[in-house]
Amino acid sequence: MEHARLQLVNKLFNDRPKSYKYNLFQMKLLIDRLTQHYNLTDYKQQRHNLAFVTVDKQLSPDIITHLRDYEGFSHFVLLSCVDWIEDDKLQLTYLLNQPNHKYEIGVRVLIDRKNPEMVSLHKMWKQIWTYQRELHEAFGIIFPGSPRLEENFVLEGWTEKPHMLRDFDTKEYAERTYFPRPGRTSNDPATYMREKLYPNQPVTAKTNKND
């Protein structure tokens, strides 16, 4: 039984690289085709079936339409936003999936953090307006023409700045607004464990092999 199991696992490890390589090859072809048409400012192959490309804000609706209509990225996975407060940029990530070749591409668009505005894509997929509505509430991004953009999504009567921005301090807000129970102490586990439990551990432990 143990022998049969080992055979199975070996078979898996022999088979997987082949499909990985095939996937990678397909993705490379895709990127080649894309670079012929568009100016991709950044490209990173994160995994055999996942790549991230960065494009200009003006170009992004074009490239997403191209991906959907000509490259078969018919499944829209996710629209997300990352706040790069140091660079004064907001990064929008459109994650698309190709169901036939089974790979994914993330289209990253950097927009201005002071005046966040982006073209609404609500006519391309029927669920995108939900993401845009959420991002409008969470990051204050304006998508002109997106339906029900101004409606509350998760919060009600919110008067502070958009809650997912990095400079909104949730702990400070919670302590100011709600009533923290007196007597509750919470320790930062890192410092607590370092001081109380492992006093002899060197602070500059080996953190990561890539560091």
């Binding site: 919110w158 709600y178 509750r184």
Partner: protein, 240 residues
């Protein structure tokens, strides 16, 4: 009651409701809830204040127990028949289905689920409360007939639990509603819930389940706390 009396009473109510409306600083009144004037079919002009027409804006009254012996008998009946409002306010409600199914059948102890606040006596706050839910919880709580009990489930209702720094959830439930029984844990097991019901029964039998009166007594304090965090206060102060 003669027509005159009724007219007088209506005008009194209107005056009171207008005064109430002016007192409250309402930044979030929806357009359909605003004060407005309507022309009746006979040409007279009627003032309408939808918020106070739809609900009673009166303060809650204390309902003190009257006859000790009768009350003792009623308390026994109340403790043996606890009707819980079926409002899953948080993730603790995942442990309610096991309670009404074969493993931990809570019907054995006279605890039943009801769908409407009018017919319920106990409110299980199942875990953390976001401010948006708290608003609905307050309305449901105030609609429940007295005597009513609140069971707070999970550590998040006691001191915020792991959401102590969240901008969306409250930290202490007892600042907004009077709590009878706390059940600690994240999440509390069904056995803990059954034990909590046992504790609630004991409290009711001892005549200590009078938190609804406490709410009426300290009404202003509770309201101030509630209004502090519910920015979108487009409802009357007390709604039956």
């Amino acid at each position: 009651m003669s027509d005159l009396n009724i007219n007088q009473k209506v005008s009194e109510m209107l005056q009171r409701s207008e005064a109430n409306a002016q007192q409250d600083e309402k930044t979030f009144v929806r357009p359909e809830d605003e004060l407005r004037e309507v022309v009746a079919p006979d040409g007279s002009i009627i003032k309408i204040n939808p918020l106070y027409d739809y609900y009673s804006g009166e303060r809650p009254q204390e309902d003190k127990p009257k006859n000790a012996i009768v009350e003792k008998f009623l308390n026994w009946a109340r403790s043996e028949s606890i009707w819980v409002l079926g409002f899953g306010t948080g993730c603790g409600s995942i442990e309610i289905p096991p309670l009404v199914t074969p493993r931990y059948d809570m019907f054995r102890f006279g605890v039943q689920m009801r769908a409407t606040p009018r017919q319920s006596n106990a409110f299980i706050i199942s875990g953390y409360l976001s401010v948006k839910t708290l608003k609905r919880v307050i309305r449901s709580y105030e609609q429940m007939p007295s005597p009513k009990y609140v069971i707070a489930l999970g550590s998040c209702t006691i001191n915020g639990g792991m959401y102590y720094d969240s901008y969306s959830t409250i930290n202490r439930l007892d600042k907004y509603l009077p709590v009878d029984v706390y059940i600690a844990g994240c999440m509390p097991r069904p056995e803990a819930l059954l034990a909590g019901f046992g504790e609630l029964k004991r409290l009711i039998k001892e005549g200590k389940g009078e938190k609804a009166n406490e709410y009426a007594r300290n009404f202003d304090e509770y309201k101030a706390n509630q209004k502090k965090i519910i920015k979108d206060w487009n409802m009357p102060d007390y709604n039956w």
